[in-house]
């Protein structure tokens, strides 16, 4: 028996799910900006020293009639380099269903984990649901969306959303966030996309090293201009 038998604590995971629209309309500059911002975010997460909550990242894309889990929920490592391409439709509901399954599954997100963060980025309305002229309450009836607010863990999860351009219905993003204190970020241009990733990175980094990650607040939205924030 030596002291190296001393039991090292398993850290608790801090799961982060990123749901990313890769439909045809994201093609070009938008998806390229997302690629750069994503790389910067992953690099920042790698540099966090002595985290209390160990960041686990899951990358889910939706586009071209399908949902892809690009990175299953896992810690960040050297191989995490992604170049995403955009094409086809916007099956947002399928992405919601995927994240619902993963968070409900104890083997994916263990009961020891801190509450997850789900980040949604889209530049258009879902092709599997039509939100036009619907109120938030009506949108909430959509099963794929209502399910991600059901269950204690999903209900507590922090949800952040950015709509790119004017084609995306703000109410669907509001219904996704379902928290009047967290604004929807509206991106006018690529600059906002970068700022949004910066905001998400900072907020998650602060949570990761906080002495109680479940109580840590989001960082201030001071980097955004007034018209980029919509409550």
């Amino acid at each position: 028996m030596t002291i190296t038998n001393f039991i090292k604590k398993e850290g608790r995971a801090l799961p982060v799910f990123i749901l990313l629209d890769v439909s045809g309309s994201m093609k070009g500059e938008k998806i390229e900006t997302v690629n750069v911002a994503l790389k910067e975010m992953i690099n920042s997460f790698k540099k966090i020293e002595n985290p209390k909550g160990i960041i686990e990242l899951c990358l889910i894309t939706f586009g071209n009639q399908t949902v892809n889990v690009i990175k299953p929920l896992s810690q960040i490592n050297e191989e995490d380099v992604y170049t995403l391409f955009a094409d086809g439709s916007t099956p947002m509901g399928m992405a919601f269903d995927k994240v619902y399954e993963m968070i409900e599954e104890k083997e994916v997100v263990s009961s020891r984990s801190y509450t997850p963060t789900i980040v949604l980025i889209s530049d258009g309305n879902p092709t599997d649901f039509d939100p036009t002229d619907k109120s938030i309450e009506e949108i909430m009836q959509w099963k794929s969306l209502s399910r991600i607010h059901s269950g204690s863990r999903l209900a507590k999860a922090t949800k952040l959303a950015m709509g790119i351009g004017s084609d995306v219905d703000i109410n669907i993003l509001r219904a996704f966030i379902n928290n009047s204190e967290i604004p929807v970020i509206s991106a006018r241009d690529n600059n906002t996309i970068s700022k949004f990733f910066e905001w998400v990175t900072m907020s998650i980094s602060v949570r990761s090293v906080s002495s109680n990650p479940n109580q840590a607040k989001l960082v201030d939205t001071y980097m955004f201009d007034k018209d980029e924030i919509q409550f």
């Binding site: 028996m1 030596t2 002291i3 190296t4 001393f6 039991i7 090292k8 604590k9 398993e10 608790r12 002595n50 009961s111 020891r112 984990s113 801190y114 509450t115 602060v206 002495s211 109680n212 990650p213 479940n214 109580q215 607040k217 960082v219 201030d220 001071y222 980097m223």
Partner: protein, 505 residues
């Protein structure tokens, strides 16, 4: 947002911000171009009301003036030297040669790196020195009439070689008399009473000020001591005292409850919240009975009753005394505390550490009994001090002498022990080094060197004949035949003599 290269004004003079050193939601710390020993903290005043801004400004100004008056505070705390003219922020001295205490309680990720980490950089002995220094520094702050308020490993810096403590992030420091009814601090380190709210309904119906009701929601000296005790416990065991295995394996909500100190102390008798993590299984080997008692008083009864917690001084003294009993395993290099009554197996390789030579220092009350001596100090009226309090380590009740300190010696120059005032008299005051004691390699003789003649006429005393030989600047002598004697000091009606003997057991 403030960034590197921005200009700020202090007393009308312009300074340029250097690289950003750190920060968080509260604010950011920057180097100052051309002033390598200083840093500037800019407080994040976004979304603050005018009243909040005013309050912080007033508070910083008070802290600055206070530190200018009481020099001792700036020795243990980073305080504003001057406030900025054009922003909410201040300039202060940089804690340059310091390391965050957080590094001491965060073991390396790979278990095989643990040995090197614990034996080379973040040693057992250093941990004891840090704890003694931390309580000493905290005591000075409390004696100055202040409460630190947000004590956590992130706010304690340790000098890399000398282990002195500097508390940083002092923005929340308050006067002890201030009533402060906010939840302020770091989860896991805040005393449980801070979360509790005073019974305002009771106060209203009885027409009394809720602030005087109890310690509920109030930050006090006792709540600082609670936070410091948690830090001390973590430094020793690498585990939080309220997080047992059931919490460690449980949900984040369970952990949250433990961080709000709603669980049992992991060493509370009969608790289910026991721990097998960190060094908790070695707790007996790495602490003294006095230290275990202090933790129990803080974390069991003192958890709910702040007044029952020990004082800074008690902690400081217990850790200072324990420092004299640290021994290192010859075969693997791990340290433990030398146990005077039981076996002394290494905590790592289980090798028997063997019998050590100890130096015992007594106060001898000549021409009077010990209780009379205590009562004669400074001509105070006769306090009822029971002689029971003066039992020595063997549990015996000597009529007229008392053990002040016990120092375990290990052979060789590098293991020399220095004697300070607290070794000769019961006190926690800091002093110069009085003497140096070295056990020779043969382990049957010691070298005593007098560095500072505070007590007059030190002499060797021959055990059989009681003959005195002046020690002058120092001597080497066999421990079986001699003790060391310091001349009498007049105290009231009698005399106090100090003598040391050496034992091997």
């Amino acid at each position: 947002m403030v960034t590197e290269g921005d200009k700020v004004l202090i007393n009308g003079k312009q300074y340029t911000l250097g690289a950003r050193l750190g920060g968080g939601l509260e604010g950011n710390i920057f180097n100052v171009e051309g002033f390598p020993n200083h840093v500037i903290k800019i407080i994040n005043d976004n979304r603050m009301s005018r009243m909040q801004l005013n309050e912080i400004y007033k508070h910083l100004k008070w802290l600055k003036n206070l530190a200018a008056q009481k020099k001792i505070i700036s020795q243990y705390m980073t305080v504003p030297k001057a406030l900025l003219d054009d922003r909410l922020g201040y300039i202060m001295l940089k804690a340059g040669d310091h390391d965050s205490l957080k590094n001491y309680i965060t073991p390396p990720g790979e278990p095989e790196d643990f040995d090197e980490w614990y034996k080379a950089d973040y040693t057992f002995k250093k941990r004891y020195q840090i704890i003694a220094n931390m309580f000493y520094a905290l005591r000075e702050i409390h004696l100055a009439g202040l409460v630190f308020t947000d004590l956590s490993p992130n706010n304690v810096m340790v000098h890399k070689t000398q282990n002195q403590i500097v508390f940083i992030d002092t923005d929340n420091t308050r006067r002890r008399t201030d009533s402060y009814l906010g939840v302020l601090g770091t989860p896991g380190y805040m005393a449980p009473e801070i979360y509790r709210k005073p019974d305002t309904i009771f106060a209203e119906t009885n027409n009394i000020d809720p602030k005087i009701l109890s310690n509920c929601g109030r930050i006090t000296v006792e709540s600082d001591i609670f936070s410091a005790a948690i830090i001390a416990f973590q430094l020793l065991t690498l585990q939080h005292p309220f997080i047992g295995d059931e919490i460690e394996k449980g949900t984040p909500e369970d952990e949250e409850g433990a961080l709000e100190i709603k669980t049992d102390y992991i060493f509370k008798p009969d608790t289910t919240n026991t721990s097998s993590y960190g060094l908790t299984t070695k707790f007996e080997e790495i602490t003294t009975p006095e230290i275990r008692d202090l933790f129990e008083r803080t974390f069991i009864k003192g958890r709910d009753y702040p007044a029952l917690r020990p004082t800074d001084e008690e902690f400081c003294e217990a850790f200072q005394n324990a420092l004299d009993r640290i021994v290192e395993c010859q075969s693997c290099g791990f340290s433990r505390l030398y146990n005077l009554n039981d076996g002394n197996k290494c905590i790592n390789c289980e090798e028997n550490i063997g019998t050590k030579v100890s130096m015992l220092i007594y106060n001898y009350f000549k021409d009077m009994k010990a209780d009379e001596a205590i009562n004669s100090f400074g001509d105070y009226p006769q306090y009822d001090i029971s002689i029971d309090n003066l039992r020595d380590a063997d549990g015996k009740l000597p009529p007229n002498y008392v053990e002040v300190s016990r120092i375990v010696l290990e052979p060789g120059d590098k293991n020399s022990k220095y004697l300070y005032l607290h070794h000769f008299e019961k006190c926690t005051d800091r002093s110069k080094k009085f003497a140096r004691v070295t056990l020779m390699d043969t382990e049957d003789s010691v070298k005593v060197q007098i560095l500072n003649n505070v007590y007059p006429n030190p002499a060797l005393i021959e055990k059989k004949t009681r003959k005195l030989t002046p020690l002058n600047k120092g001597k080497i002598f066999p421990i079986d035949n001699y003790g060391v004697f310091f001349d009498t000091i007049k105290f009231g009606k009698g005399h106090i003599q100090i003598f040391c003997k050496f034992i091997k057991e």
